[in-house]
């Protein structure tokens, strides 16, 4: 009887030890997973903060480029003015144009100052180098594309670009295919009509997109960009054209365009208030016309198209140039 009882007690001890051991084991496994998640969140928070600092440091330059190298594969998104990584997101007070997803060990960031007509801030471009941007020109847009590829207004050199005459696409398509080797995607930016070369592109490229740029300005400094889904967006100055080139889609571009308009409104308001202050303190100076030009400019912000912006910007530039000497310029 005693032996049977001892046998049962021994079995119970084993079962008890297995249950307790299992609970402790599960606790540690759960703890390890939670700790890994915590570590990833800290890393992601660090990434978004450092990105934000990079943008802030860059905003002092008119034009700058930088490569951020990470010790492991990194992936994040820049969407609706937020840097999003591993479930962590942080609002950034910068205008950042980027593709849908940025991933890799090397991330390329660059910036350009935006002047409309005065400096309203910087726009930033983030890219992972997986897309080749092919700029296609004709005899009319030849010079513009030349400027975009190599001049002060140029596309940042850390964005992979290639330029080609539309006439050469059908005859030398293999050169183009060779240039695009090593890239995951190809994005064609047409500064001319592309009907005659569309079939060549379709039959030679797997992953490609076509953006179409139109403008009534000779230098294409403002105009429209048509995205692959048919959405047409306006751009003002080359930095915004480059922004459209890099943006994942029309919505991502338009979100940033609205932010640009907010910045223009904010800076214009500062200049309007400054001109009022100068007018009060310097009664012998004529600030009425520039005040009126700034007021008119602010009233059209948010309008569709680009022609009204071009007219107003020219008007402000003209009125500001009339000032000087004892009557300081507004900007």
């Amino acid at each position: 009887m005693q032996s049977k009882k001892a046998q049962m007690s021994s079995s119970f001890n084993y079962i008890f030890a297995i249950i307790i051991g299992g609970i402790i084991f599960m606790f540690f496994v759960g703890f390890a997973y939670k700790f890994m998640g915590f570590g990833e969140s800290i890393g992601a928070a660090g990434l978004v903060t450092s990105m934000n600092d990079e943008f802030a440091a860059f905003s002092a330059s008119d034009s700058a480029e930088k490569t951020l190298s990470f010790n492991k594969e990194t992936s994040f998104r820049v969407y609706e003015a937020k840097v999003i990584s591993e479930g962590q997101s942080k609002q950034i007070d910068h205008i950042v144009y980027a593709p849908f997803l940025i991933e890799g060990r090397d991330i390329f960031i660059s910036t350009k100052a935006l002047e409309l007509p005065y400096r309203v801030g910087n726009v930033f471009y983030v890219d992972d180098g997986s897309t080749l941007y092919i700029l296609v020109y004709d005899s009319v847009s030849d010079e513009v594309v030349g400027d975009l590829v190599s001049s002060y207004n140029s596309i940042p050199t850390n964005l992979p670009t290639y330029s080609v005459d539309v006439k050469d696409i059908n005859t030398n398509v293999q050169d183009l295919v060779g240039a695009s080797n090593g890239y995951d995607n190809v994005r064609f930016i047409f500064f001319t009509k592309y009907d005659t070369v569309l079939s060549t592109i379709q039959s030679n490229f797997g992953a490609y997109e076509i953006l179409y740029v139109t403008s009534s300005e000779n230098d294409y400094s403002s105009g429209y960009v048509v995205f692959p889904d048919g959405s047409q967006v306006a751009y003002l100055t080359y930095p915004l054209l480059i922004g459209a080139m890099v943006s994942g889609d029309a919505y991502m571009y338009s979100y940033n365009y609205d932010l640009v308009m907010e910045k223009v409104s904010r800076v214009s308001n500062v200049y309007l208030e400054k001109s009022k202050l100068l007018a009060t303190r310097l009664p012998n100076c004529e600030y009425t016309l520039i005040k009126s030009a700034l007021g008119s400019y602010m009233s059209i912000l948010g309008n569709d198209g680009y022609s009204s912006y071009v007219t107003n910007i020219e008007n402000i530039e003209e009125e500001n140039k009339k000032l000087g000497g004892d009557c300081p310029e507004v900007y």
């Binding site: 307790i20 703890f31 660090g46 600092d53 400096r119 910045k263 800076v267 500062v270 400054k274 100068l278």
Partner: protein
């Protein structure tokens, strides 16, 4: 009994571990905050809302007339409060003028340009600053000053 003692020791050990872990995270957050504010010293001076612009060209100075008319607390709340709270202001150092906060009424006979401030409780503060050139468009003169950021902790 052994299991109970083991669990108690485990809990105490984990308690210490979490305490050190939290301390380390907090220290990292404070370092990040200080680093971000140091970067901010250069980015504030290049804000188009306050930076000088003469004949359409930007210059490395702060336009005091813009400081008077621009209120960053309405639009830059997120920018300033991203990592921690701070107080930001400009002070004119040379030539010395009447002490006092600059408003449209006192300008230009004043030396303190309030820029941004949060109403946050803090136990200590770290002060960082950088020299700046302050531009006065009324007489087109330049004066020596500094941009100060008080990082509240």
């Amino acid at each position: 009994m052994v299991a109970l003692v083991f669990i108690i020791v485990l809990m105490v050990g984990l308690g210490f571990f979490f305490k050190f872990q939290m301390g380390s995270v907090q220290e990292k957050a404070e370092t990040t905050c200080l680093l971000s504010n140091t970067v901010m010293l250069s980015s504030i001076t290049s804000m188009p809302e306050i930076q000088c612009s003469v004949n359409g060209n930007r210059e490395d100075c702060i336009d005091t007339s813009k400081l008077l008319v621009f209120d960053p607390s309405r639009v830059y709340q997120e920018f300033f409060n991203a990592n921690c709270d701070q107080k930001v202001y400009f002070v004119e150092l040379y030539p010395e003028v009447t002490n006092g906060t600059c408003t449209q009424g006192t300008y230009p006979d004043c030396n303190y340009y309030y820029f941004f401030e949060t109403n946050a409780d803090y136990t200590s503060k770290v002060i960082i600053s950088t020299p700046v050139s302050l531009y006065y468009p009324l007489d087109e003169s330049y004066k020596f000053g500094k941009l100060v950021i008080e990082v509240l902790q």
